[in-house]
Subunit: 303 residues, 2 copies
């Protein structure tokens, strides 16, 4: 079994952040990412990059962070009590892109590596990550492209990977109090260490590297579609679900807030403008109803 | 010790909801509250009332709910493990008012009664509640009036009540990840049963009855103050803190979502329109900076 190489993971993540920011700034065409570097007093820090008020991207954040500490936070040991008392390092890239145009879906991606160490014991480590898509006005072609890209990224690692991580994504990005998925899903994996280190790391890279291939063509196809105020209002309303998910359920958000992460970087995922409307329901036979009836029903998008 | 009278509490709460809605609709002058009654499949239900797009109130919700179940939810037994396994009833009125004008503060109030029963054992019961004020552009006169009203409501029940529940309010409505109070506070009490039932119930009534006396004069004073787009934007930005608090920390919200309460009624507290802006900071020596430096610093507002 190969020993875990923290430096290689870190170098990959920093480079991934660069490449994703370049690709998204290119598709935006107007604004670029502005960087903030930050230090965490308890250990580690990060490099936050935000693009706001772009031609295509209303608000997009692509974060790198690397935090370490002498004991694992509660959110991480809840399902792994054997890790209590170990020192840890967590590093990852996490991004959320909120476009201006309601025809362009919001996307989220994350790749991460955890390692928990103790003097005289084997390190415990795992990878996690994935990406998921949240359309407002869905499009079958986009959903198929998104999932086909995810499936192709998983293929070299075994036929079981895509169906397993696609299902996990559907289950994870789910708003219990709404009985509603957050979007059309994608991939979600966590606790990945059953492959050896090199293979697990390669899998994380395959996921990280395929995100722009999955997202950019969809943005290109939809960014110039005309939209009206009612469609914009629906987008702002649906963004409320994004806020509800991230603040009530998201493990990464809770981990960040509990470990004293940088609040502005963690909450960069929240949309720039959001509406809540009491007991709103879509009218039957509208594109808004179709989101609920078709796109928010988990299904086999990949071919 | 007087036996707890659930029917009397329920009758009071229904009447309080009526009176508060009447007072707020009167100050709005344009719109009235629209009612939805709902049933909870597991037991109980509620009466939600919402006023939207008023002359003064952009979105206001005043809920009555009465839920019961055969076992206490986790959020309620976490700090009272002796209640696990008892049946429970929870009833209360909860409200949040989001005004249009950034010079009018947002207000929240809640009064509630819990009772947990078991065959052959004394019932365990308590009251909780309070109210707190969240200004955008603060005003010392308003803060003093708010706290003086709260203090006067507490006075007949002993000199210790106001300082104790004022402090508890400051501690409860606090955003740890921002190191920021939600507003200028008010009253917060919970687990109140050390007075006998009649006195505890009377205290809850004193709090419930004084809410409109605390809030309406402030609304009347500020509702016609002119404001510009920058001030409106600041209000929308600060509303983000309200969302963060309610979804990450608020015990009532978590209790409601965990007990299968009606999601639209629970999340009625969320503002109609909200902005998040990455790493926004107020300019020095502005009214926006004064909110952080003066109003969001807990202090003795009452005389």
């Amino acid at each position: 079994m190969t020993a875990p190489n923290k430096q290689a993971v870190k170098a990959y993540l920093l480079n991934l952040q660069d490449k994703i920011c370049q690709a998204l700034a290119a598709v935006d065409g107007k604004e670029t990412f502005v960087e903030d570097s930050w230090q965490r007093p308890e250990g580690g820090g990060g490099r936050s990059r935000v693009l706001t008020n772009g031609a295509v991207i209303e608000k997009g954040g692509v974060n790198f962070s690397h935090v370490h500490g002498s004991s694992m936070p509660a959110s991480a040991t809840a399902h792994r009590p054997e890790l209590a008392g170990r020192s840890f390092e967590a590093m990852g890239v996490s991004l959320v892109i909120h476009p201006n145009n309601p025809h362009v879906p919001t996307s989220h991606a994350n790749v991460r590596f955890f390692i928990a160490e103790k003097e005289g014991a084997e390190p415990v480590w795992w990878f996690g990550g994935g990406y998921d898509l949240t359309p407002y006005y869905g499009n079958d072609e986009d959903c198929r492209h998104w999932h086909n890209t995810a499936k192709a990224a998983c293929a070299p690692f075994g036929e079981d990977k895509y169906p397993r991580y696609k299902k996990w994504c559907d289950e994870y990005f789910y708003l219990k109090h709404r009985d509603e998925p957050r979007g059309v899903g994608g991939l979600f994996f966590d606790d990945l260490n059953e492959l050896d280190f090199d293979q697990s790391f390669a899998f994380m890279q395959a996921v990280g590297n395929s995100y722009t291939q999955a997202y950019v063509p969809i943005v290109e196809r939809r960014k110039d579609e005309p939209y009206n105020q009612a469609q914009r209002d629906f987008q702002l309303y649906r963004r409320g679900r994004y806020v509800e998910f991230n603040l009530v359920y998201d493990r990464g958000t809770l981990f960040g807030l509990q470990t004293g992460g940088r609040t502005e970087s963690i909450l960069m995922s929240l949309p720039p403008l959001v509406r809540w409307e009491y007991d709103w329901q879509p009218q039957p036979n509208t594109p808004e109803a179709r989101l609920y009836e078709h796109y928010l029903q988990p299904q086999d998008w990949a071919e």
